[in-house]
Amino acid sequence: MQTSTMLSQLASGMLVSIEIFVLTLLFSLPLGLLVALGRMSKSRILSGIIKVYIAIMRGTPLMLQLIVVYFAPYYVFGINISARFRFTAVIIAFSINYAAYFAEIFRAGIQSISVGQWEAAQILGYTKTQTFFKIILVQVIQRIIPPVTNETITLVKDTSLSFVLSVAEMFTIAKQIGAREASIVPLMVAGLFYFVFNYVVAFGMEYFEKRMSYFR
């Protein structure tokens, strides 16, 4: 196999990895915020359900969750699973898993804002929703950048777990080529890719953190 063929195959895997990463963040961040709000809800039932959901997401292996999400339509609803569902299943599993982690980060962030901010806003006549979106959320975002960065870096590496559903991302492809060619090189290339990817992510988050440090 030519090096160029190998690289082009790895490159296509790389794009899929990036796609999984971006889509997961896109869905799990807003979902995580909703989950955090539900977790803090006055309704015991809602917050109870969400507690269980978070416990399951954090307490079981992500790899198992990927498999469960993939096979769920067949075992629960008797729907035949098409191969195209693999990618969708990966996005769903990653999104609901990361939403649980992000939710706990959001919750800690929201609860760390002094109650005085809410009270000042209430006296000034803001509604609860206005207060949350205009006053609280920006402060929360500033505070949670470091833990969110950690999760994001973990996500970059976790995308490789998609290999259990044979989604053609970086790691799956590197493993395949490596086995076929009896070579460690593809996996080393994959390792380098994850490293550089994370370097870029960390750089981006650091920039964002700087941009958000205009207030204290």
Binding site: Q139, F215, R216
Partner: protein, 254 residues
């Protein structure tokens, strides 16, 4: 006769933990009056303000603004005004906190104009004009674009007063507005409050600054253990022979 702006009758407050903090507190404030509340720490001064501004639910009695009932007791249950009435009632008052509670992600200007714009729907340009005038009055014109963390405590408290005034409240409450400040900064905030008093702003001020209370107030209330122990004009109180009051005032006047 001046209009009655605030009327609190037989206010009772028991916190969830069963702590009966206010037993029977009444207070009537007319337009243009400045009333100071003094008393030892833990006597319930903050609780009075929190009940009057609806930050905390009351356990009994009544609160009314501009002759409109806000909270009252009926068949042993506390009722409150309809949403619509409550909205109007809440526009009547502002509150200045001990620790300012400015919004840290907003500049001084944004802190002052945001509520008028997004709550009262004042046109942006008008809100800015008003804010500029307020900043001028409070000696903060050069700070409009600063974020709160760059200001001294005294400046932050003056901004929070400006933020409250921007909504043009009829009554302004202060909860120990200078307790978080050192003496030098205290003076600049007290000066601003005196200036407001001279402009006949109606104010209810919880303070430990005895000399200031004496100068600025029309009436002083001395609270202890959730009860009004004495009240009257500053001279009446400062010359009172109530032993506890004399003792208390003595501690705070050096």
């Amino acid at each position: 006769m001046a209009e009655v702006l605030l009327e609190i009758n037989n206010l009772k407050k028991t916190y969830e933990d069963g702590n009966e903090v206010l037993k029977d507190f009444s207070l009537t404030v007319k337009k243009g009056e400045v009333v100071s509340i003094i008393g030892p720490s833990g006597s319930g001064k903050t609780t009075v303000l929190r009940c009057a501004t609806m930050l905390t639910p009351i356990s009994g009695g009544s609160v009314a603004y501009i002759g409109k009932k806000a909270l009252w007791e009926e068949d042993g249950k506390v009722c409150q005004a309809s949403r619509q009435d409550m909205k109007e009632i809440k526009k009547c008052f502002g509150l200045v906190f001990q620790n300012f509670n400015l919004f840290p992600h907003y500049t001084v200007m944004q802190n002052i104009i945001d509520a008028p714009i997004s709550v009262d729907k004042v046109p942006r340009q008008e809100a800015i004009e008003r804010a500029k005038m307020l900043l001028e009055r409070l000696g903060l014109s050069d700070k409009a674009d600063h974020y709160p963390f760059r200001l001294s405590g005294g400046q932050q408290q003056r901004v929070s007063i400006a933020r409250a005034l921007a909504l043009q409240p009829k009554v302004l409450f202060f909860d120990e507005p200078t307790s978080a400040l050192d003496p030098e900064l205290t003076a600049e905030v007290l000066k601003v409050i005196k200036q407001l008093a001279a402009e006949h702003m109606t104010m209810i001020i919880v303070t430990h600054e005895m000399q200031f209370a004496r100068e600025v107030s029309d009436r002083i209330i001395f609270m202890e253990h959730g009860i009004v122990q004495a009240q009257g004009t500053p001279d009446e109180l400062f010359d009172s022979d109530n032993a506890r009051l004399r003792d208390f005032i003595g501690k705070f006047t050096s």
